[in-house]
Symmetry: C2
Amino acid sequence: KAEIIAIANQKGGVGKTTTVINFATAFASLGKKILVIDMDPQGNASTGLGIESNNRQNNVYNLLIGDININDTIQKTNIPNLDIVPAEVSLAGAEVELANLENRLYRLKNSLQNTVDTYDYIIIDCPPALGFLTLNALAAADNLIIPLQCEFFALEGVGHLLKTIRLVQQQINTNLQIKGVLLTMYDKRNKLSDLVAADIRNCFKGKVFETIIPRNVRVSEAPSHGQPVLLYDMNCAGSKAYINFATEILSKPNTN
Amino acid sequence: KAEIIAIANQKGGVGKTTTVINFATAFASLGKKILVIDMDPQGNASTGLGIESNNRQNNVYNLLIGDININDTIQKTNIPNLDIVPAEVSLAGAEVELANLENRLYRLKNSLQNTVDTYDYIIIDCPPALGFLTLNALAAADNLIIPLQCEFFALEGVGHLLKTIRLVQQQINTNLQIKGVLLTMYDKRNKLSDLVAADIRNCFKGKVFETIIPRNVRVSEAPSHGQPVLLYDMNCAGSKAYINFATEILSKPNTN
Ligand SMILES: Nc1ncnc2c1ncn2[C@@H]1O[C@H](COP(=O)(O)OP(=O)(O)OP(=O)(O)O)[C@@H](O)[C@H]1O
Ligand SMILES: Nc1ncnc2c1ncn2[C@@H]1O[C@H](COP(=O)(O)OP(=O)(O)OP(=O)(O)O)[C@@H](O)[C@H]1O
Ligand SMILES: [Mg+2]
Ligand SMILES: [Mg+2]
């Protein structure tokens, strides 16, 4: 049975999508069968994994609102062992449409039931908000990874995120656990990165992953080639960090 | 009568809040009377302008949902000529609560009527989404400034943003104009920045501001001191760019 991992943080631009794309690719290259769910209407994870914007007729919106079988929305990527349910802009409408539907928080969870036995991991990319799309991801997930930029504003929203997670754990998904906090865009030349990293470690005692993802220009270049950085430049600091991260996750067995 | 400017882009982490804080401060230092409206539940603009999180009892949530007079929510900042209506985390609930209210798109516009004669400019920070909070800002605004990071994913969401703006112009606020696109976090060492900047200029013919905001570590350090970068380090590249930006805006009179 697949372990379902959501990557969420309502703060924008902290590296959620970049983490989904590259962590999923690293896992796939280690032989794990991976399904990525792109729950962000911007569709950045779909683009970063090479799915053309005109090739997303069957997508997450159909899954949540249209009630079609997930197996009709899954596409192969050109990365072995890595499939995706893509997103496109229609998904933005789902945030409001979900508000009036039965089972509005469990639509994703119910859909995933038809495919949990096919994959080792299902990895969900979330938009920068704590609305129905992210709540659907948290309702469906066993574990949550929180990417945190090593910047001052990153700490501001953490309290609200933790409060929301506690509510989800009490009322929607008692199974949900925080697998850990991943420090991203760490810049060793910037003394702020160290201060913020120390603050984050203090706040999340023991839950901060050893692996730190450095700010690395090759990481931000890769999406313009429709490729994960692991394929674009596998020897750069960004790729090495994401490979270390996948290895670190594998060493922490799923406790659910 | 104040010119109302919204700073919006649903892509996260592109520099919306940083632009609001520093552009507003530059204007205030040029003697303009400025009111900032923080429409983002993360409350980053409020923090960056030094409003302690326990000093936001009267805030944007009360304005939109509680119907109190805007003049009871306006606070002075420690920057002369710069006032703010702060945000705190309760605002996250407004996204859903607004859905069921009368005049749900015009709550902010109606509130601002009581204060347009007191200020030269009213500047609105938006969250990274195109929900009711951002739609309220677009309904109230005369002009819109779109910060765009010089990174590949930044271009992805622009189509959707422009479509939403056109809908707003047709159905909600015929007055709304795009004042321009501001290139942010430009890194001259990264060849991607130039490629993306060229793409953006191509897509927004004539609407891209001359001023480019460089990636500059002092900009990201300033919020941890509760100060705009203009006060934290007014000689750094980031401050100079925001001062140039304010001067450029003043040279483009409001055409509404
Ligand atoms: N380690 C890194 N080094 C350099 N650039 C990075 C790194 N990680 C991400 N980026 C770049 O930073 C930007 C933001 O990253 P990304 O889009 O993954 O964040 P996000 O949290 O998914 O954003 P959103 O909140 O909009 O969904 C992107 O342009 C991305 O290419
Ligand atoms: N010119 C710059 N140079 C360096 N860092 C910057 C610059 N502009 C913004 N930043 C930093 O980048 C991060 C994102 O900026 P900011 O929070 O202003 O973006 P935003 O679009 O408001 O994000 P959100 O979508 O979450 O509201 C912040 O940590 C900020 O300090
Ligand atoms: Mg993303
Ligand atoms: Mg912001």
